[in-house]
């Protein structure tokens, strides 16, 4: 009886789907603090201290400004509690130019993220 029930294709398909959903939700709960970390480099490739990094959430129609932070002495920045799953980052430094807008995507809201590529400032033309 039990063997037949467990071997049923509905049990297998829906069981696997439920197990996958449970595992995914468990992963989400443990990684959804909304952290976004990265670095800003100046035009010479050196860390850009004191640059302002702005985070804009991409909605269906527009870019909504959400937060700004300043980089530390090593050019690192750190956002916390940012839930947007699709957003744009832009760095600016007075006299140091600004970076192109970088689109970032997440697989779920608030996914903790460390940017692989730094934002690079380019002198204003």
């Amino acid at each position: 009886m039990w063997r037949r029930l467990l071997g049923n294709r509905y049990t297998i398909v829906f069981g696997l789907a439920a197990a996958g959903a449970a595992a995914w939700n468990l992963y989400v709960v443990r990684h959804d603090q909304g952290l976004v970390e990265g670095r800003v480099l100046d035009a010479g490739g050196r860390p850009a201290a004191g640059a302002t990094v702005a985070l804009y959430e991409r909605t269906l129609t527009t870019l909504e400004p959400r937060a700004t932070v300043e980089t530390d002495g090593e050019g690192r920045f750190h956002f916390a509690g940012q839930p947007a799953h699709h957003f744009v980052l832009e760095a600016k430094k007075p006299g140091g130019g600004q970076s192109p807008r970088t689109t970032v995507r997440r697989y779920f809201r608030g996914q903790n993220l460390v940017l692989a590529e730094p934002l690079r400032l380019a002198p204003a033309r």
């Binding site: 398909v13 129609t61 799953h85 699709h86 997440r106 697989y107």
Partner: protein, 270 residues
């Protein structure tokens, strides 16, 4: 036929099957690449595939609510179809005065398109106070004539002696239906489940008319709403299509053998 002679047939069938699957493949490919369908030259293989468009669909619109509405409405439709169609089909297997006339009326009704009956359907639903509700969405599909005849074809194939034996054993009519007819008609049950589910799941026109607020929208209606938000949503739009299509395809694949059996049972005799 010897196996060595079947390969050309299998090859031809394989090619036809591949051609039939191209639209599904294209939808799936676009959902993970976002490539515009008019891109030239078209690429057969996905370039830089990712799943972010599915994430967009999940968050940009109330997808979970649409999904829940579709699931609830489809569940009501499937349950109602099984109950009402089995009862109607069982009645049609019994001899009674005017049976031919009833069958004729039912068959004739199949020729009337839903668009022609949508105004009375709307008025009845309104009078029952079921507009803008899940039950109201399910109401017009609660019994379908095609599915009644699927059951009838299957019930007709059950030997008369079996029903007579059940009556002699003291079973009532509903008990005969439940304990004898339905267990012997699993293919018809599967066909009823699949057809009613797919019709309800894909239904667009009736929800468009019967639903006013976003909170009761089903997936096909949500898809059209999504389209109206933004033009440049190719990837997300196709991802939405994949999510809408997936449950129906999954159900069909799980029950395809019985589905085909159910449609063909009664088509041949002997």
């Amino acid at each position: 036929m010897r196996p060595s002679r079947t390969w050309p047939i299998h090859l031809a069938l394989g090619v036809v099957a591949a051609v039939m699957l191209v639209p599904f493949y294209w939808v799936l490919k676009t959902s993970v690449t976002g490539e515009n369908i008019f891109a030239y030259p078209p690429s057969l293989w996905p370039r830089h595939p990712h799943l972010y468009y599915f994430v967009d669909v999940w968050y940009y619109i109330p997808f979970v609510r649409f999904l829940l509405n579709s699931v609830v409405v489809s569940a009501i439709v499937v349950a109602a179809n099984l109950a009402f169609n089995a009862l109607a089909a069982y009645a049609l297997t019994q001899p009674f005065a005017g049976k031919r006339g009833v069958i004729l009326v039912l068959l004739s009704s199949m020729m009337i398109p839903f668009q022609a009956t949508i105004v009375p359907a709307y008025l009845i639903t309104k009078d029952l106070g079921l507009l803008n509700s899940r039950l109201g969405l399910a109401l017009p599909l609660c019994s379908t004539i095609v599915n009644i005849f699927v059951f009838k074809g299957s019930f007709d194939a059950v030997p008369r002696s079996l029903i007579d034996a059940a009556r002699i054993d003291g079973l009532r009519e509903w008990q005969i239906l439940w304990h004898v007819m339905l267990p012997l008609s699993t293919s018809a049950v599967a066909t009823n489940v699949i057809l009613s589910f797919i019709w309800s799941w894909n239904n667009f026109l009736w929800p468009l008319i019967a639903i006013r607020g976003e909170e009761m929208q089903t997936l096909p209606l949500g898809l059209s709403t999504f389209l109206s938000y933004l033009e440049n949503t190719t990837g997300a739009l196709y991802a939405f299509c994949v999510l809408v299509l997936a449950p129906g395809i999954a159900l069909f694949l799980l029950e395809q053998k019985r589905f085909v059996e159910g449609l063909t049972s009664g088509a041949t005799k002997g």
